[in-house]
Amino acid sequence: MRKLSKLLSGVAIAAIMAATPAVAKDFKYAFQGDSQGLDPHGLNETFSLGLLGNVYEGLTVYDENLALVPALATEWKTISPKVWLIKLRQGVKFHNGNDFNADDVVFSFARTQTKGSDQKARGGLVTKVVKIDDHTVELHTANPLPVLMQEMAFLFMMDKEWSEANGATEAANVSDANEIGYANRNSNGTGPFMITSREPGVKTVFDRFDGHWNKDLKTNVTHVEFTPIKEAATRVAALLSHQVDMVYPVPVQDWKRLDEAEGVRALKGPEARTIFLGMDQSRDELLHSSVKGKNPFKDIRVRKAFAHALNLDAIKAKIMRGAATPSGLMVAPQINGFNAALNTPYAYDPELSKKLLAEAGYADGFTLTMDCPNNRYVNDEKICQAAASMLAKIGIKIDLLAQPKSKYFGKVLAQGGYDTSFYLLGWTPGSIDSHNVFANLLHCQDAENKMGAFNLGNYCNDRVDEITGLVGAETDQAKRQALIDEGFKIVQDEVGYLPLHQQPLSWGAGDNIELNQRADNVFDLRYVVVK
């Protein structure tokens, strides 16, 4: 396609070349999967949102250090606990030349609540959007919500006129076999890049949007090609042979190879994702265990025995090749609310574990099925295997059920009826705030109030529930921190979860590429510089 057009319009291209800045830079990168469509309100998933974040923008945006900075909104403040006043940026243009204004904001929030949207939860935080003038809006929330603007970084704004003209006023609806959401295959954002061609699962081409409001972007890239490459080996090979400039993720064990190879390097960094093991603490009898009639995890001695059986340093050294940060908390250092003083992992002490188990009446151990994804987190399955062999040493026989993420999540999450007894999960709070962790992981399961939805083992403590509510509403940072610390301490003492580590970000890039490796594993083209 490109080739042909090159052939046909050599003259035209020469003309464009003359018009654009002398430095036209190409950049190619690869990821293990593809974005599921282009609809900004389509799938609420890190990679898709990350990719679309180059094309669309929210009211706010995270910078290279995960600090929240203005994007389409220039200023925001709470005029009452439940009402935010937002000043919109002026002179912003969509890729099609339309102006960005308050109508687009109202429209976009409404669109998140349409049938096909996967952003209902995020958009639903705002119960009402009021247009004050063309560049001012009010956002109303149901409860006081200090973290609202963090959430807004991934809620993208669309052009009302464009959407209406193309029948894309509803989020792409996958259930209709015949109707293809226009916005799913075409894009019109305000971001610095626009998608000029796309073949799903094969290739997506971006070109620089010259009309972007921010002329100070770091990037010098004008043309980007993105290719999904599923196999890790193929992906690394593509980088090693310089067919692409950047790939992610890179298996941690290949870092050495990348660093030794000419012209490429491994990019390592801490990710804000915490990997942990969870235990079913609510059922009276475990679903998948040799222990009948009771639930051993209800006994804190058993939970402690598990905690002390895990050698986090060995996992770090061998499986993660030194690239993980063993963790004693359920949040990473980058997350608002993290307290280094509390971050002490349980000590590795298998003898203590055996003693505890014997005390609890399980001197001979027991058998337990462990659920594990095998393509979701860095070396997820290997971590589970290592944990299984460590637990084997204290007499716990683990039947490991490692599955692709689709099957895994289908089983262990709410829609599978939390069908698990012991599992591995990873969590990055989307709002980069501890409250998200309290609400989703530490709060008792409460489907009605959408709380504890990812607390798969239903760890439950009334005070923690209470703290969750308080943290959500507390605006005084010191008080808030104290509440957070209290909550984390309770969970730690009760061994509600078994945190393992924060996994590393593992990317690879050519030596001539400068880029920003953000802790939430989002790859932002705004920071790519090709030398």
């Binding site: 298996p251 064990q253 060995a314 099925t369 062999s389 040493k393 039947d399 490991l400 059920l401 490692a402």
Partner: protein, 314 residues
């Protein structure tokens, strides 16, 4: 005493016949056949006695120490004398794992071949002998199945089994699911071969002689036709054994095979494949070599057997 005499007579009789047998003769005069058979037998031997030969039991999770993981073979710097061929990412001894893994691969191969052989030969016999509508139905099913390569069918069956069967028992039954999947994907070739041979055999006069005696259809199929069509079936069986082992490895490579806690050769190669670029080549190369050694020796032997019995077979 008398029985012993008779027995001895029978053995002598057998040896004499064997000596007289062209296949046996041509076997001993084909270096490739002898070598490949020897290699195959060696691989079978060491995998059957894996638990005796292997220095470790890699399936015993409690014996693994993560700190021993990713060690190179002894002759490389950093090697540990306990682990001749090095260790994998979980600290399993590669040599032991290869022995145990070969056992699984061969077990899966043999049992699935026997399964599909019985299924295929049975259906082929019925199809060829009974003919008519039964034949048409069986062959139509075979056609449909033929439009999907074995790997796809095995992939499907495995997927279905994983979904339908209770998850707790999954790792225990994974190997049976795999055997079943490979077996079901392989019966067509036997059935077709047997069918076409039965069609030529059933019009032969010895079959009619059986009918004249009054023998039932089953007796004629079992006693008369089957022994006459079974030769090529063994040839296919041998070649299919190699194929089954490769399919198992491929499924394991694609991640739908045996769980990594009880790795087969294919699972090991898959694990090792992730370490190829990081220089830990021994995790892939040694199991890969073992797999190729098994498949190649079995294939070479089967190839020779085919030439000796019926070169027209594929």
């Amino acid at each position: 005493m008398e029985n012993q005499e008779i027995e001895r007579g029978r053995i002598a009789d057998f040896l004499h016949r064997l000596n007289d047998n062209d296949i046996w003769w041509s076997f001993w005069h084909s270096p490739v056949a002898v070598l490949s058979a020897a290699l195959a037998l060696f691989m079978i031997f060491i995998s059957v006695f894996a638990s005796v030969i292997a220095p470790f039991n890699p399936f015993d999770l409690a014996s693994l120490d993560l700190m021993d993981s990713s060690l190179p073979p002894v002759w490389q710097s950093g090697g540990d004398p306990r682990f001749l061929l090095g260790t994998d990412d979980q600290g399993r001894d590669i040599l032991s794992t290869i022995l145990y893994g070969s056992r699984i691969s061969l077990l899966v191969g043999f049992v699935s071949v026997i399964f599909s052989l019985i299924l295929g030969v049975g259906l082929g016999l019925i199809s060829g002998y009974v003919g008519g509508r039964t034949d048409a139905i069986i062959m139509r099913i075979a056609d449909v199945q033929l439009s999907f390569p074995a790997i796809l069918i095995a992939l499907l069956l495995d997927g279905v089994a994983r979904t339908l069967l209770p998850k707790d028992v999954h790792s225990e039954i994974a190997i049976y699911v795999m055997i079943f999947a490979i077996a079901v994907s392989g019966w067509v070739q036997y059935a077709r071969t047997v069918r076409s041979m039965v069609m030529t055999e059933k019009v032969k006069e010895y079959v009619q002689a059986g009918q004249v005696i009054g023998l039932g259809q089953f007796t004629i199929m079992w006693r008369h036709i089957l022994p006459n069509v079974i030769g090529p079936v063994f040839v296919i069986g041998t070649l299919h054994l190699a194929l089954a082992i490769i399919i198992e490895a491929t499924l394991s490579f694609l991640g739908v095979g045996l769980p990594p806690t009880t790795p087969s050769l294919g699972t090991l190669i898959r694990i090792g494949n992730e370490y190829l670029f990081s220089g830990e080549w021994w995790i892939t190369i040694f199991p890969g070599a073992a797999l190729v050694a098994i498949a190649l020796s079995v294939n070479l032997f089967g190839d020779w057997l085919r030439d000796a019995i019926n070169p027209k077979l594929l």
